[in-house]
């Protein structure tokens, strides 16, 4: 991602009752089922977040990473952001500035690169955001 195309929505970072929330954009030209999300790594101020603390918000649904792996009919639309909720109260307060890093790998399920293997693309961005 470069200057025109950001991964982390600058306005999507916010403190929540039980932690914080981010929203990220799809780095591909077409919608993909969320089951194609191979990995998602989030860190806050350089500290990695445990995967169990992460929930995804997509199409009005809330999914754990394990649930997302089976969600073959839940599509992440190109012009919609994916919400990421992180549990852990007190890490982020409204008005605070934090360094947020996101890295995700997407499997392109229609671009085969050998028997039963598909192209996997990794996107990453680090941004300093003020919590809304």
């Amino acid at each position: 991602m470069g200057a025109n195309l950001r991964l982390i929505d600058p306005d999507g970072f916010a403190a929540t009752d039980d932690g914080f929330r981010l929203s990220i954009r799809l780095n591909w030209y077409r919608s993909l089922a969320i089951s194609c999300l191979e990995t998602l790594k989030v860190s806050l101020d350089g500290q990695p977040i445990a995967p169990e603390a992460v929930r995804l918000e997509l199409n009005g649904k809330v999914l754990s990473l394990a649930e997302a792996e089976d969600a073959v009919e839940e599509y992440w639309f190109v012009q919609d952001s994916l919400g990421i909720r992180v549990a852990g109260a007190g890490q982020v307060k409204t008005g605070e500035s934090h360094e947020v890093a996101v890295e995700y790998a997407l499997r392109f399920p229609y671009i085969a690169i050998g028997s039963g293997r598909f192209l996997v693309n990794v996107s990453a961005e680090t941004a300093t955001c003020v919590a809304g």
Binding site: A3, N4, Y29, L32, S35, E38, Q79, I113
Partner: protein
């Protein structure tokens, strides 16, 4: 009957940068295609443009048909996808693939598209099973011949044999100019360089691109070279695209494919200041289409967004149309 030649048009995929950066709505893109004379054909990637794909609602379909009518444009091809790897633990079964494509054929019918593009790797058994469904929907289903495929690739040969045996006009191909490139576009190597690939690896990748070994061996050779140069795993996706995106089959192969062509992807990366695309032999391909009397649709399919984030899709589409009109009138 006078020969009319190919019907030009544009795929909205050309405006991927504008779309991803949320600068346009679907309505805005289509209106601008009409205003700039980039029709009459309009192609849409279902999973790019419709939030409710692969099962578009009646309301989505009605609005889209009304939009094209109002703009004086015609639907050429709906690009669908066979997402056979959507599950991490296993591939889709035969029946699952057929059912997945059937949903997209029904959406194509609702939206008014005469052709649904899918990936050719689904193979002859799936295609044969789709023929009666395609016929029922009144929508042709066509496997895309995209790099790294070519007319003499065993998978393509098997499909042609299937099409000949089944004999249905509802089966066919969508050839893509990525199969017959002169070279990988310079923008591809520049992007790899900017991502930190060492020059020696880029030289090796170029040599692998130009040599004649089979495609799976090319992926292996690239992986071996990348490992030897200590390149990070995150770069492998982009390095592998050297093979998935840019083929170098001879243009002459197109002649034998045209009877099966239901639509064509006029792939390009950059029409330069001289009005030409240096990576793809457009003059040769257009001369062949004219000579063979191809009168189907062909979309401007700009893929420069693989290297460029600027919202220049419309100026590139205008340049493509000018180039093709010039070559077709030559």
């Amino acid at each position: 009957m006078t020969h009319t030649g190919p019907v030009l048009g544009t795929t909205l995929y050309s405006f991927t940068n504008e779309w991803q950066q949320r600068l346009f709505t679907l309505e805005g893109l289509v209106e601008k295609v009409a205003a700039l004379g980039l029709g009459p054909g309009v192609e849409v990637v279902g999973f790019q443009s419709f939030r409710d794909f692969p099962d578009v609602s009646d309301e989505t379909a009605r609005a889209f048909r009304a939009l094209l009518d109002r703009c004086g444009l015609i639907p050429s091809c709906l690009s669908g996808n066979s997402d056979v790897g959507r599950r991490k633990d296993r591939l889709m079964t035969h029946d699952e693939i057929v059912a997945y494509v059937e949903r997209q054929l029904i959406s194509a019918q609702k939206l008014g598209f005469p052709v649904l593009r899918i990936q050719a790797f689904v193979g002859p058994k799936v295609m044969e099973a789709l023929a009666p469904i395609a016929e029922r929907c009144g929508v042709q289903v066509a496997g895309e011949l995209h790099s790294p495929l070519s007319a003499d690739h065993p998978e393509v040969v098997a499909l042609r044999e299937c099409y000949d045996r089944v004999g249905s006009p509802y089966l066919g191909f969508v050839p893509d100019f990525s199969c017959t490139m002169n070279t990988a576009p310079e923008g591809h190597w520049q992007t790899l360089r900017a991502d930190g690939a060492p020059e020696a690896l880029i030289d090796e990748a170029k040599a692998i691109w130009h040599d004649d070994r089979p495609i799976p061996a090319k992926f292996g050779a690239l992986a071996e070279a990348a490992a030897r140069h200590g390149v990070a795993e995150r770069l492998m996706g982009r390095i592998n695209r050297s093979i998935t995106m840019f083929g170098h089959a001879p243009v002459a192969q197109w002649a034998e494919l045209l009877p099966y062509a239901r639509h064509i992807h006029g792939k390009y990366y950059q029409v330069d200041a001289t009005g030409n695309e240096p990576a793809i032999p457009y003059a040769e391909i257009m001369a062949l289409l004219k000579r063979e009397g191809y009168s189907g649709t062909i979309s401007a399919e700009w893929e420069g967004q693989a290297f460029v984030e600027d919202a220049i899709g419309f100026e590139q589409a205008q340049a493509w149309h000018a180039m093709c009109r010039r070559l077709l009138s030559a």
